[in-house]
């Protein structure tokens, strides 16, 4: 239980081995590279910043091309992913040899060009289909027109007007035209909701008169391409063309499908190139002279030998130097805990890591989080389910370090819950499987459970205050410790005993009363000690006594354990009751019961776990950490392989 000791690492190597140096470091994954600035180095030969040179751009281009191919394939054939994979990711294990083989040897150029070609072909086909569909929409109302579209529309004597007119004006237009041009002939082709399609045959010299009349009723001439054949034939042609386009599209899709087989190699290549890019980007942190380069970084004490052996063993020119950090220097922080409390580091990472000058409270957090989590669940059946589910997931799914720790934490929490459930007699509720509680059932004695919650809460708070006291003493500030933690410990304990002992034990109550009063006076005298002015000091001290309400509300906050614990049990019982009622139904009864039991308990497990996790975190972050913890450490971020699709097997 501690913050890991960090060492500063300096590696000098010949520039020709720079690539190998970064490669080894990346694969080791235990060194955080720190940026070196030539200005910070004392003096010496011409020192400049190392730069990735002109390799970076072509590499970025390649990455972009592989990304394009992968996106193109995914767009047309999305890779199937289960719910768990959506949640936890789906990286595939791969060994180093295969990664290098695919990375160096796999030529994606031909696939890239093919994808481009197929993509272009699809775009072209879609454009053509779009144009055809516009044509079809235009011709659709004219399907009844049975003259060829390219038929002559005027002769020496006669002229055809083809177009549409508004439905409302139709009768009036027809009668006016009849009056003005008696020789005209009005043929209706089709009508829909608001337009009537018409052909009007006129003598040539009456065209202008007719057009004038028709224009009043919103006449719009037909706009169709003048191709051979009737509208129907034209429509049919368009349709046939569409079918041909669909066939071609299917062929293209087929061709894309043939490329799916390369997906895994492409993904491997993508990660391989990404790793190479990361190495090139990392070079900007180095400095160089003409022949040599220098790298600075942080490494955990226990990894130092491994790094030295690896670098000096595999590189001809590498020289490694290890230094202690300066006494007051901030280093990146990694936590170092035993196997049981390691999963609980995730709670610290989500909040804030300690600096290397502070105490790492992970062990305490682990103990109390586990305890409170179990109390908030209080059901052995749910504990078994939770531990089993987490165990299976940890076995089957490759997770990020954070995800892995979270599930380990939940697995341990599940085991603790089994114990709490056995003590309180909860096995998927307590009305189907009735096992006598080893201690007491919170459903029968909620008050006992409340007192237990508050009592454990008080212990939790006192541990926090004691840790604060310890930190102050370690800093050599014994007085601050006594003023800020010691007095309060006495005050809160005195107050509780005074209230609790009451009439039952007058002697104890009396002692507690005096302890309370003396410590309260102490708080008033010391609470404002940073102020010189005596009145301001006493005023501030008096005000700081008000903090007593803060402590009381902290203690009451632990009543949430009662709420969460009982809610789990009550919901489980009602699920059982509903399931048993369904059992009586004919035919569907037993199956319905099974569905309700399994679905209901899984759902209850889910909401209970989420609630317990969040509220127990809160008890650590607000109530516990509020008493002593500062945090503010920067997490150790070693230079390690970061990939999207594959992960390196040990």
């Amino acid at each position: 239980m501690a913050v890991a000791q960090m060492k500063r690492l300096l590696v000098a190597a010949h520039r020709s081995e720079r690539e190998e140096l970064l490669d080894e470091l990346q694969r080791l994954g235990v060194v955080e590279i720190q940026e070196l600035d030539p200005k910070d180095l004392e003096e010496g030969p011409k020192v400049a910043k190392e730069n990735p040179g002109d390799e970076l751009l072509p590499l970025e281009d390649k990455l972009g091309e592989v990304r394009y191919v992968l996106d193109f394939l995914d767009r047309h054939f999305p890779p199937p992913r289960t719910l768990i994979e959506q949640f936890a990711g789906s990286k595939v294990p791969i060994d180093l040899e295969e990664l290098d083989r695919t990375g160096d040897g796999f030529d994606y150029g031909e696939i890239y060009r093919q994808c481009r070609k197929l993509d272009d072909a699809l775009t072209e086909l879609n454009n053509r289909r779009g144009r055809l569909q516009t044509n079809m929409e235009q011709v659709e109302p004219w399907l009844n027109l049975d003259i060829p579209l390219d038929a002559p529309r005027e002769t020496n004597w006669v002229r055809l007007l083809i177009g549409s007119i508004s439905l409302r004006g139709e009768a009036e237009a027809a009668s006016q035209l009849e009056d003005a041009v008696p020789e005209s002939c009005w043929i209706e082709v089709a009508r829909d909701r608001d337009r009537v399609r018409i052909v009007v045959i006129l003598p040539r010299d009456a065209v202008e008169t007719a057009q004038e009349i028709l224009a009043r009723y919103d006449f719009a001439p037909m706009m169709l391409p003048r191709c051979a054949g009737t509208a129907k034939e034209f429509y049919q042609e368009c349709q046939d063309e569409c079918v041909r386009i669909d066939e071609e599209c299917a062929q293209v899709e087929e061709a894309i499908k043939d490329l799916i087989g390369y997906r895994f190699q492409l993904r491997t290549l993508y990660d391989y190139l990404g790793l190479a890019r990361d190495r090139l980007l990392a070079t900007t942190n180095l400095v160089r002279t003409e022949k040599a380069c220098l790298l600075q970084g942080w490494v955990r004490e226990e990894d130092v030998n491994q790094v030295i052996n690896r670098l000096e063993g595999r590189l001809e020119s590498a020289t490694v130097q290890v230094q202690d950090p300066e006494p007051d220097e901030e280093t990146p922080v990694a936590l170092n805990n035993g196997p049981l409390s390691r999963p609980f580091e995730v709670l610290m990472e989500l909040y804030s890591l300690p600096t290397r000058f502070q105490l790492d409270p992970t062990g305490f957090v682990a103990f109390f989080f586990g305890l409170f989590f179990a109390m908030a669940m209080t059901d052995a059946g749910y504990g078994i389910m939770l531990a089993a589910i987490c165990f299976v997931l940890l076995r089957k799914v490759h997770m990020s370090p954070l995800g892995e720790k979270t599930f380990q934490l939940l697995c341990l929490g599940g085991l603790a819950t089994v114990v709490a459930g056995a003590l309180s007699g909860g096995w998927w509720g307590d009305n189907i499987i009735t096992i006598k509680p080893l201690w007491f059932s919170p459903l029968d004695q909620p008050l006992t459970f409340l007192i237990l919650s508050l009592g454990l809460g008080i212990i939790h708070l006192y541990v926090g205050m004691f840790l604060g006291f310890y930190e102050n003493v370690k800093k050599g500030d014994v007085l601050t410790g006594i003023y800020d933690q010691g007095l309060w410990m006495v005050l809160v304990a005195g107050l509780i005993l005074w209230l609790a002992a009451g009439e039952a034990n007058p002697q104890l109550a009396n002692a507690a009363k005096w302890a309370t009063i003396i410590s309260a006076v102490g708080v008033i005298l010391t609470g404002g000690r940073e102020y010189k002015n005596i009145f301001v000091r006493l005023g501030t001290g008096l005000y700081s006594l008000y903090n007593v309400t803060g402590y009381l509300s902290d203690i009451l906050s632990y009543s949430r354990l009662l709420g969460l614990g009982m809610a789990t049990g009550i919901i489980a019982n009602v699920i059982n009751m509903v399931a048993m009622m369904v059992f009586e139904l004919p035919v569907v009864g037993p199956i319905g019961t099974l569905i309700i039991l399994v679905g209901g308990h899984l759902f209850n497990l889910f909401i209970s776990v989420v609630g317990s996790y969040v509220h127990c975190s809160r008890l650590q972050y607000v109530e516990f950490f509020g008493k002593f913890y500062e945090g503010g450490g920067r997490a150790f971020a070693p230079f390690a392989p970061e990939t999207k699709y594959v992960y390196l097997e040990e």
């Binding site: 949430r560 009662l562 709420g563 509903v578 909401i607 609630g611």
Partner: protein, 157 residues
């Protein structure tokens, strides 16, 4: 039917009705945000779903209290209980905490969960934090549920 029985039924109805309405609104709000997020990235489905479930719990708490009340009234077999007006009113009172707090907290929680969905859409790794914000609201529903339950147990029929 006796007046006491009617009052008890009114309580059961209110618990389910109010808390259920709140949850429906909350789950609906989150669902809208979730559809938006999934339209951008189908992989958001599982994560959005988890956030969408959270405002649904109030409806369940309301249902549980309503169910237990109906059971106490004897509608689920064993013959109708004979219930005085005072007892009926007590049952009605017992149902109110989860009904009202369920209604308001589920709506508030739905809003938090909906913004949580957009948080996760932008930063998929921050699901835990989005859940923490939403579950903070849950606590008050749990308290109300608990008090409703204890009141219900306290009423002797």
């Amino acid at each position: 039917m006796e007046m006491g029985l009617v009052l008890g039924l009114l309580g059961a109805g209110l618990a389910v009705l109010l808390a259920g309405t709140g949850s429906a609104i909350g789950v609906g709000l989150t669902g809208q945000a979730a559809s938006g997020a999934v339209s951008e990235d189908p992989d958001m489905f599982a994560k959005s779903l988890i956030l969408q479930i959270i405002p649904g719990t109030q409806g369940i708490y309301g249902f549980l209290i309503g169910f237990l009340t109906i059971q106490r009234l004897g509608f689920l077999g064993g013959g109708l209980a004979s219930i005085s007006v005072e007892t009926g009113l007590s049952l009605l009172m017992a149902c109110l905490p989860i009904g009202l707090v369920g209604l308001t907290s589920a709506i508030a929680q739905g809003k938090v969960a909906a913004t949580g969905v957009s948080l996760v859409a932008k930063r998929p790794e921050e699901l835990a934090k989005a859940m923490i914000f939403a579950v903070m609201v849950e606590f008050y529903a749990i308290l109300a549920f608990l008090v409703s339950f204890l009141m219900l147990q306290g009423v002797t029929i």
